[in-house]
Symmetry: C2
Subunit: 343 residues, 2 copies
DNA sequence: GACAAGTATGGTTACGTTCCCACACGTGGC
DNA sequence: GCCACGTGTGGGAACGTAACCATACTTGTC
């Protein structure tokens, strides 16, 4: 099928029309499937298009129709499996609906996020899915009439569709689990951002403590910058200074760093310290002991975000909704009662 | 900055020109930076563009200039960290050169690969980077005058730029290492494709045996289909039937599956069986014992591929080159002499 | 003081597609 | 025999931009 071809200039509708001896208008109707065309003529036009290797010029279509079939997606870090799964889910759903994904990574940097968003506007994308870094990007898109869905975290100062995890519950379950085991000094490793995802996880941490009637010691809370090079050093210092009996790491990267520090220190899991991570990435089930984690439905997060975006594109006047997906605490071997009961 | 705005129709060069009281031609020259414009006029035009929230219509530009600044990238599986790293490297290099990446996953399916490639042609992408599934896609693009670089594996039946790993050497080093430890029954876990990457790894496996003067027992070679659901069952059967003392898994997924089977069987690493993987993904260094692997410069692979593509776009008549990046054997705890020497 | 070369601006066209409109034909209803 | 309506076709404009061309003014050179 498809004889493709043409090494000279690309084939246009006009070429196809000429080949069959009809007008460009008719050829366009046949190829796009809109409007009246006699059955046999349509047949011959499609055959001619195939024979000549005609491929519609997407730019011309977008220009004329004032919208494209390309949805922009911005994630923080292409290398992180969390965002990989997210992207996979988004792409799958978009493709089924006849859209394509333009995926861009922004390294969690505001400037790059804005640059990406500008490109999407330039391309007249019908919609954009963001794991937002700042609140400006969303506002910019909305003001320009482009559908937006925020996923994983919410940043916008305006009402906008979003698909996020119930972070409060995830953290509450995880920390509640540790407190239930008897821990009284649970460290929290978080990211030093204003992201709602992190805020929710910290809130869940505090909530669990409140429920158990335990006062939170702020010295146990460590918030790290993004690509902070000294992360492991600071985690080590936390161990020295605050002497936690358990660590709750609020994302997969932090869990990995914490795990590494514990190993370097020769601390045994879970005998000396317990560890609970966030996000059920592959390694957590493979190390020994396997790590207790809050599992998030990563791919689903992406699928729902894409589905929501498609709805908004179809009906721009819907009132924005926020979908809250539920995490699941997976208890494995890295959490156990503390070394010896305190107080 | 940027006051963006306009909820009605998007701002065009004509709007900017009118605002300043000049012609669209002049405005276009000022905004695109090509051609003569008086300094003060340029200043005022840029200010007006910013004030009105002008964003150039990429479709119109592409249509007029007959080429876009968007490079298509097709990878097999967005969820696999290998492809994630590859994409990260590609994107980084492209962005620095003022291009954007349109990333598409094809699940290793020929049909989806062709669909993606068609989209790129429709968008008049100046170039495409493929981890090819079939040989048709590359040929199709070349015939249509689009620059192509194959990365990770080569499929094309025509001369085309490529960036690949020295798979033969990687496998030879890995298997040579095992044979040097005294193993005589080294199983190979491979993918059942016609990919050059797999072919090279099998060749390296045979080469190592030949160098050591050992005859290869074909019963030790297991080639699995892509998303083969029975993969772990078949690996287990291989253990039973061929009784290998070491396993060489030729990609990170197979290594993970092999590792899982070994654990389920209660086989100790490396006492009962040795394991060497391909591709140094995070978990291999974290499990105990850590896994000996052939490390590939994943991100570099992407960077070089992008750089090569940019060269070809700049000069379409270069003779195609193939860059061969070198792997590195990282010996860790999962490889040791076999239980007892076999003849 | 003529001429070339550089600077600066605007009018017009073309990129490839879709869509609106005008027109033409056939069929059925009154 | 007229009209309404569904079917089918082609002409032409428009989407927003950049390139080409014509034009005009300035400057420097012999």
């Amino acid at each position: 099928m498809t004889a493709a071809g043409e090494q000279g200039r690309p084939v246009t509708v006009a070429d196809v029309a000429r080949e069959v001896g009809t007008s460009p208008s008719t050829a366009s109707r046949a190829l796009s499937g809109r409007g009246y065309v006699a059955a046999d003529l349509r047949e011959r036009l499609l055959a001619a298009a195939d024979r000549l290797g005609y491929v519609a010029n997407a730019s011309a279509q977008t220009l004329k129709q004032r919208t494209s079939r390309i949805v922009g997606v911005v994630v923080s870090d292409l290398g992180n499996p969390f965002y990989g799964g997210l992207a996979a889910g988004i792409e799958q759903t978009l493709r089924e609906a006849g859209y394509r994904m333009l995926l861009v990574g922004d390294n969690s940097e505001y400037v790059e996020e804005m640059a990406a968003v500008r490109t999407f506007l330039a391309m007249r994308a019908p919609g954009v899915i963001l794991t937002p870094v700042g609140q400006e990007a969303t506002g910019f898109l909305i003001r320009n009439g482009i559908a937006v869905v925020e996923v994983d975290r919410q940043m916008a100062d305006v009402a906008v569709d979003a698909v996020v995890l119930d972070n409060v519950r995830g953290a509450r379950d995880a920390v509640g689990h540790l407190l239930g085991l008897g821990h009284r000094r649970v460290a929290l490793l978080g990211v030093d951002t204003n992201w709602t995802s992190d805020a929710g996880r910290i809130e869940g941490y505090r909530f669990a403590h409140a429920t158990a009637g335990i006062t939170v010691n702020d010295g146990l809370i460590l918030r790290l910058g993004f690509h902070e090079p000294a992360a492991e050093k600071r985690i080590a210092r936390l161990l020295d200074e605050a002497a936690p009996t358990a660590i709750f790491a609020t994302n997969n990267l932090l869990a990995e760093q914490a795990w590494r520090v514990l190993r370097e220190r020769g601390l045994r899991l879970p005998r000396d310290v317990s560890l609970v991570g966030f996000d059920d990435v592959a390694w957590t089930a493979m190390v020994s002991p396997p790590i207790t984690v809050v599992a998030q439905p990563t791919t689903d997060l992406g699928r729902r975000a894409a589905a929501l975006l498609l709805q908004r594109i179809a009906d721009p006047d819907r009132t924005p909704t926020v979908e809250l997906l539920q995490p699941r605490l997976v208890v494995r071997g890295s959490s156990a009662p503390p070394p010896r009961p305190r107080r």
